[in-house]
Symmetry: C2
Subunit: 299 residues, 2 copies
């Protein structure tokens, strides 16, 4: 992290810069938009390489346009050559070619923190967010390049081949992912009656419970959770505290969510910024004729 | 604007929903990322249809991958069928086909506010952000479908064919754009020694001066300005006040900018949220063992 002088004589501090590698959701509940909002909520600056444009709304994913591999590679290279990246978070990859491009990128650029959310299918809609060759590549190649992997229960089942139904089987899946090469695993159980996350790393296994928030507005909770872990690690937390803080953050973002369309709404990742909405949505209203911006210019 | 109950029994208010139609800048200084941050800074919820993926960093634009027209149309339709859109902001369009798709979309969906930023070339890099057939389409077709058009000086020159060098010629260009079908025009003069914006609408012509902020971190200032106008209009300001407030906001976002790469950094659109950064980047640190999220689950 470095501080650079601004040419106006002020010196504004550069926060940690976090890279999201993921798909774009136009409804902005999931994917890169969720990642960028989560980074901002943790006072980090987000940059992003887009692996795919999805066609989706709060009612589900309708279609996927994968980014051409050369464009994805060019985006990644341009960013890594320019910015000092404190952590990378990987979400939707669309297909094997893009997953392989990301693996090459991680081999070229050694980041302190690489958080892999092995996104495969959306909760709503029947579109494929990663093709089957891509899923195998994630399991066999990308898993071991990540510092933390955050599968939900269906993703843990695919990656391990185990049946995962409860906390004991989540622990077994987490252990198996460590054996398969993951350095640390958080199996997320947001869909359990009592949502419980299981952290497995070489230090041991730990479970974290939480209260179930009754809300349909949970679109993007997986993206938000893994991005919050990335932000906490980049700002100096250890993994255990990062998981605890990320879980508490996601719970609050669901509690503060609001409807944005006809279906499952997004989390409110920026809830911390919006607790006291000012009148008419404006923070500082300059007095006309007194604020510099309002002074008539010489004609 | 409507309020819906959340299933958890709370009823969180839905803010105005604003649609950005623009390109994606991976360095997140300009384009859709700048638009979404600006909407959020004004307590609005942003959604976005991406017209192109650019390859760029703070050092300039290297390449453009235009979104296939069918994908752009599908994104737009999915959003408009799902959300209640208070204002649309249009930025980079990449090519004539995508510009025409946006014109059809505006004909199908009548929005109260349509802010058109007629983006043509980047400040840094020699990539084309809109092809020449697209520029003609914007001039001949899209201009008259907007409620406010926000060209900078080079864009005003292209659209009108006039030479624009100073405030009198900015006024002449603004008047000509009204004659060409625009309903209101703001010619932005951020590159003038004394940055001055000129507002032309049927009520008359007005100029707004401002202080020049000496900073290289102005990447995305045009996107940010037009998105701030969209947010102010959507939250009830009249156009004159929207322009004054947007200009003051952009000035502050430049003053609060920081370096993110080796070149021209982005504005800090979220500066209002970051005035008192907490220790270690975390707002609420739950007490381990006391916060619900940190309680060990039943094993």
């Amino acid at each position: 992290m470095s501080t650079h002088g601004n040419h106006n004589g002020h010196s504004n501090h550069t926060p940690p810069i976090l890279l999201a590698i993921a798909g774009f959701d136009p409804s902005c509940g999931a994917g890169v938009a969720a990642d960028l909002k989560t980074f901002a909520a943790h006072n980090c600056y987000g940059i992003a390489a887009i692996t795919a444009l999805t066609v989706q709304s709060t009612q589900g994913v309708r279609a996927v346009h994968a980014t051409p591999t050369a464009t994805l590679r060019a985006q990644l290279d341009a960013l890594a050559e320019d910015a000092n990246i404190a952590a990378a978070k990987i979400g939707m990859l669309a297909n094997r070619a893009n997953a392989a491009t990301v693996a090459e990128f991680l081999d070229k650029n050694k980041f302190a923190h690489v958080i892999l959310d092995p996104v495969s299918r959306p909760t709503a809609g029947d579109a494929e967010l990663l093709d089957s060759a891509g899923l195998k590549f994630v399991r066999d190649e990308l898993l071991k390049r990540a510092t933390v992997v955050t599968p939900n229960i269906p993703e843990a089942e695919f990656l391990t081949g185990l049946q995962v139904r409860d906390v004991p089987s989540m622990k077994a899946a987490g252990q198996k992912l460590l054996e398969m090469g993951a350095r640390a695993v958080v199996v997320t159980g947001g869909h359990l009656e009592k949502p419980t996350d299981v952290l497995c790393d070489p230090a041991g296994v730990e479970t974290f419970g939480g209260d179930h928030v009754r809300s349909q507005h949970t679109h993007g909770s997986g993206c938000t959770f893994s991005s919050a872990i990335a932000a906490q690690l980049a700002t100096g937390q250890n993994l255990r505290d990062a998981v605890i803080l990320a879980k508490a953050y996601v719970t609050q973002a669901i509690e503060k969510a609001y409807q944005t369309g006809k279906g499952a709404g997004p989390l409110n990742q920026l809830f911390r910024f919006h607790q006291e909405p000012p009148a008419r949505g404006v923070h500082e209203v300059p007095q006309h004729g007194m604020h510099p911006a309002a002074e008539p210019a010489a004609h």
